[in-house]
Symmetry: C2
Subunit: 404 residues, 2 copies
């Protein structure tokens, strides 16, 4: 496994969250000799919120989580996640697998099955061998530990080249609140539909409705602002549990909101940095649009464009392709008002290349690993930012060979 | 230059169109020693219609053609096309280049400048050296010949690996009408916005408004149904001239409509077959959708998906990715009603893989060069067909290196 050149130096030291314990195991769901199941046990009194893909072919697990997420809070809960098989498009058998796992976990942890949230990620359309997961539940239960989140992060990886985690500790109301999150994702990543697999835990005290609203709002500013390949997963799931063990109520807390935003954005960026085949991490900033929605259309058109992304892979400052992407986006734009920058370098303005721009300056900028493409439409105050990566031969190789 | 493995065996024998003469030349717009300008002279009494990209950053030439296309018909006309430089995002200088070429052609051919339609294709954002084109106009005029359409097809190529032409001769009202068309296109090809560069000629007699309506309708069934890479050009242009030299009025002729459809579809398919790096020609058929618009959304989601297209490149019958694309399309779909076929092979139905399906059958099918992916949503009668190609390493190589 070649680790992405954009990977963080190491997995972060995440704070332990009072009221949550983790375990992982090798269940052999698809491959032998790799961790592929995680269990998170969440204490009674916690609230659980979630955001899910809107795909019309979303997996049995996602549908089950959707049905459970708004239900009675307060009882203990569990997150169970396997990699290797997505349990998507597996018909009634898929629903049965979810029920079997939920019942088995509920029995062992002494919680209602309606509080067991499952996720599966991997190949679509193959029967989930849920017996292999159930056979590991006693081992998982025995190994539960508050410090086990790093193993959990490894257990949910598929084509990821590194585990993804992010945490914060913030002072609120004279006390201290902790947040720790993990994520997986590398391909089949597209914005505006949901997320990938993300699990966030906090010891803050917050009701379900408030947590759900917060999570939805921050998803729109983080996970919904990234794209690797414009393809949206059938399994995208973000689950968050708040145990309340800190005793600190964070409802309406700006500090908590900010800390959660940082954790979610960090995880979202880590997903892009592990984009299949990625060698460049690219921030696309759009302002001056007629509306924020228009700005998002332009940012997404640039971030999704295969021609922009292959130019980035080739370190070619081909700004004409950015003009193309603006043009096709469907957003209002005026050739003579828009300007384009690479980082601080003014590339184009007044409907043409800038007088001060040199091809050499653009080419030098493109050699960097962290790039900013900024477009000002010059119309009004609408703005949006998205994050993406380049499109390389390695992406094609990974995805032409995925199952063979 | 490696010719696409999907290319036709040879350029077709196109019928000569009475009232149209062609010439081509080496103007050195960007490269030396290759034909890069074509001129088509169209006799007085002809009607001219056109369909253009809706990109908000469309080129100076496209804006000029749009302004001219509905104007007074009847005078002689000309199409002038260069490759190597798109004259898009070139500010006021770009408008000046179009005017300079139009005036110079008009003077030499004795026609109004408002009847000179220009197209430019190639790199975006560089000043068009229009003097080099104007310097070749006398040579072009002297070489005009009714049989020169094959040279014109070569002169408009950019990353194309073969020239594209299609023609038909149809019996109508006891006489005979001829249609001949040429096209260029290989990358930056996406549906629903316009076309690539296409020029079609006929000796049929038909008024401007009827020809324009026909062209728009057939564009929606042909060029707007193909995609190579989901990126839309700033220069997409389809121009058609009807000289009336056959004396046969084709207004409301079903036979003419059908023949024009065949020519346009043939050219559209040839563009996909020359898709950058393509090794597979793929028809995506969707039926059973709630509406035709929904069917088109699903067909486009499949045809544009990088994950579907890389699987095709790898000859991997990864039908789970088709399920994913259906799910993300935004069209109404029901997991338990949709079915998927590879050619005649039933792959999935009733929300899961079909009992009769074997991975070996799917893998064998994928080895073919011409593939059909058929999705039945099982909801109502909406249907659509799109054509696409696979996504290979060669696509990335071509586009990471385009300008360097």
């Amino acid at each position: 496994m070649i680790v992405s050149p954009l990977a963080p130096a190491s997995f972060p030291d995440l704070p332990e969250i009072a009221g949550v314990r983790f375990a992982h195991a090798e269940a052999g769901v698809r491959y032998k000799n790799r961790v592929d199941v995680m269990l998170a046990e969440i204490a009674a009194g916690s609230t659980v919120a979630g955001v899910f893909t809107r795909s019309s072919t979303r997996s049995a697990n996602v549908r089950d989580c959707e049905a459970k997420i708004g239900g009675a809070q307060g009882a203990g809960a569990a997150f169970v996640v396997n990699s290797g098989n997505s349990n998507a498009f597996t018909g009634k058998a898929g629903d049965g697998s979810v029920a079997a796992i939920s019942d088995a976990v509920a029995e062992r942890l002494g919680i209602p099955a309606t509080r067991v949230f499952t996720s599966s990620t991997g190949v679509i359309g193959e029967r989930l061998p849920h017996d292999r997961i159930i056979a590991k539940l006693d081992e998982l239960k025995n190994n539960l530990t508050p410090g086990g989140i790093d193993g959990a992060a490894r257990a949910i990886m598929t084509t990821d080249t590194y585990p993804k985690g992010s945490g914060r500790e913030v002072a609120i109301n004279g006390g201290s609140v902790r947040i720790a999150g993990i994520a997986k994702g590398s391909g089949m990543i597209a914005p505006d539909m949901g997320t990938m697999l993300v699990y966030i835990f906090t010891d803050a005290k917050i009701g379900h409705d408030a947590l759900q609203a917060l999570l939805r709002a921050q998803t729109d500013l983080t996970f919904n602002c990234i794209t690797v390949d414009s393809d949206t997963s059938t399994s995208d799931t973000l689950l968050m549990a708040a145990t309340g063990a800190s005793g600190i109520d964070v409802t309406d807390s700006v500090a908590f909101n900010d800390a959660l935003h940082e954790v979610m954005l960090d995880l979202a960026h880590q997903v892009v940095r592990d984009g299949e085949g990625a060698t460049k991490f690219v921030e696309v900033r759009v302002n001056g649009a007629r509306t924020n929605a228009d700005a998002r259309k332009v940012a997404r058109a640039i971030a999704d464009s295969p021609l922009v992304k292959t130019a980035l892979a080739g370190e070619d400052p081909n700004w004409g392709r950015i003009v193309m992407a603006v043009g096709k986006s469907g957003a209002e734009a005026n050739r003579d008002r828009l300007s384009i920058r690479f980082g601080d370098i003014l590339v184009a303005e007044n409907g043409w290349v800038a007088e001060s721009y040199t091809e050499q300056a653009g080419a030098d900028y493109m050699k960097g690993q962290e790039l900013v493409i900024a477009v000002d439409l010059g119309l009004a105050g609408g703005m949006a930012t998205m994050w993406t990566c380049d499109l390389t031969n390695r992406y094609v190789e990974i995805n032409a060979d995925y199952r063979s």
